[in-house]
Point group: D2
Chain length 203, copies 4
């Protein structure tokens, strides 16, 4: 296989990229000047050296100081009594963009497919349970911030079970994000589940 | 204008139908046999004679008995203490399809555009307020079952105001359908409003 | 079944209309005034009386005079030496909209599915062949104006065969609409067939 | 700006990639092992060393031998009397995928926007004209294989003009890919241009 095809093979592995767009990416790179390609490649090589996984929340963060913790976990103004568990970095970033959550996070690193046999290979459940034990006393609420799809539901059930087994001094409330109508939902086309949630959670 | 074009003009007024589909409808009718056209036309002529507006909930219903009320309003097993206000018949039908709501309904006949100057020309607000007064005592909760879009929000605000002005013996709780994640919502793409609702309504 | 559902059943038979839109149409009619419904129903009842099938081209046309022919077939300025065979009225109307074809038409009334066993039940092949015989001498070209999909291709083959069997004084040229790139076609995404046609028909 | 954001900035420049997908790509890379990142980065750095621009057709090709020409241009079985001019490598590759063209190519490197003032900065017109002069005698046909959109039309006009000015021993035929119905085209929805082309090019 030649260099063009080899590089295209790498791009095919990217999320959402098929063979045609992979080829387009290679052609795009071929039309860039050598400086672009060098800086781009160096950033990729450096990526793992410049980025750490936060020891507390497990999110990726760029190393700016010697700290082993990301900016959010280090921020003394964040509310340490609330922890939101999310599947991936992009979820956390979207919630930060909205801006009205002031607690801490934990990034699971994925969701559990139905019937997954080795959950602790798929998600950082061990690290989450350790964190909860460690925060014993200060932590009052864990919000399970997971997408509303079968994998999210499955993960939610598993997490609830596991967290309940952790022995803590004072009880920790486990909550899930509210369910019901979301922006744009029309009554005429509401699915059963959403109506049932919206009805149950009316207020 | 000839008959084909005249009939097409009628179909253009149907919801979601443009000039091309209107023409297609006429061509479709032209290929039907005379029996089809006669029965179809007769049903249209009869429609208003065969269908009444329920004196209680204002929905359309086919006349099967001499009753002035639709099947739901006449059903003694429905819970009279709860009233769900919806914009249109199709909303009511979708909720009935889901099947776990057992209270009564009121069909507004539309939603209020922002800055609407004559709300009582647009929606059956007068009839709704009269119904509430009449049900005085038995009615304990009014659920505002409106779509989550600007017109729905506007209508919700207006209805809340108006209903609060009605004097009743015992207080009536006004609720809205719960808001938050709906089926398929992904955290990564959550809009601000939905996150804020989902966060506030966590449980 | 009640009148609302009965009428919805009629609308479900319309091209492209599902049960939900059918119901919407009935609700829409219920909100019209009685005059609208009467005029609409009368137009439907009158439709077949007001519309004839042209004795020459088989298209539908509104009766304005006592003529048995449509305006196009009656127009002395149209070129009688060319006949375009199309599947349905909507195709003819689209070509008239474009406006640079000045010959006559014949409307087949459909296309032949692959393996159709009774072609003359499906399309007006008999009437087409009779027309060709009748026009013997004056007709010089038959353009097969059919959509470029499997049914169109199948019909094209069948028509070519059948027309060739007609004995005429002077030979009639059978042509098909040109094939190749159409508006918006991008080379990068060209399918095999379109490229092969575009290449073969380069000029 | 930190490394994650810096790398995302590079991905934003890729064709069809917005800020969110750019971030997703970075997160994807962060979850790969160091070996993946190194090989990927090395391929990018090497890309321009491993890939040449063919001296004849201007397409990109991976260097496998010391040749200054790509495989197609070197192939003695390709028909040297026909040259197809295309806008970009992806167009050429799609035509090769179809497989029934056996001539040579020239890759312009782009299309000319309407009113472009410096065509020779945008496309390899100089190189094309030199190639034509050089092939003087052997070259019999130039096929302009350009997309059917405003930029393609504009480029086609410009190329025709420029090529006609080249003095050659024997005349070179300039052709364009045929136009008309393409796969899936339906007569009912045909645009004016496509109908006019299909009608003119009937056969």
């Amino acid at each position: 296989m030649n260099s063009i095809d080899k590089l295209a093979e790498y791009f095919i592995k990217f999320p959402g990229i098929g063979p045609r767009q992979a080829k387009r990416f290679v052609h795009f790179l071929l039309t860039r000047n050598p400086g672009f390609l060098h800086e781009f490649a160096d950033l990729i090589k450096q990526l793992k050296k410049d980025v750490k996984i936060c020891e507390s929340c497990s999110r990726f963060y760029s190393i700016e100081s010697d700290s082993n913790f990301c900016r959010i976990c280090e921020n003394p103004n964040r509310d340490e009594s609330v922890l939101m568990v999310v599947a991936k970095d992009a979820d956390l970033e979207n919630i930060e963009r909205v801006g009205n959550y002031n607690g801490l996070y934990f990034v699971l690193g994925g969701l559990l497919p139905i019937l997954e046999k080795e959950p602790n290979q798929r998600i950082r459940i061990k690290k989450l349970l350790e964190l909860i034990k460690k925060k014993n006393g200060s932590l009052k609420e864990i919000i399970l911030g997971l997408s509303l799809n079968p994998e999210g539901e499955n993960t939610l059930e598993y997490l609830t079970q596991q967290i309940k087994l952790v022995k803590t001094k004072s009880p920790i409330k486990i909550t899930t994000l509210g369910r019901g109508l979301s922006t744009g939902t029309e009554l005429e086309y509401l699915d059963d589940n959403t109506f049932q949630n919206a009805f149950k959670n009316r207020n």
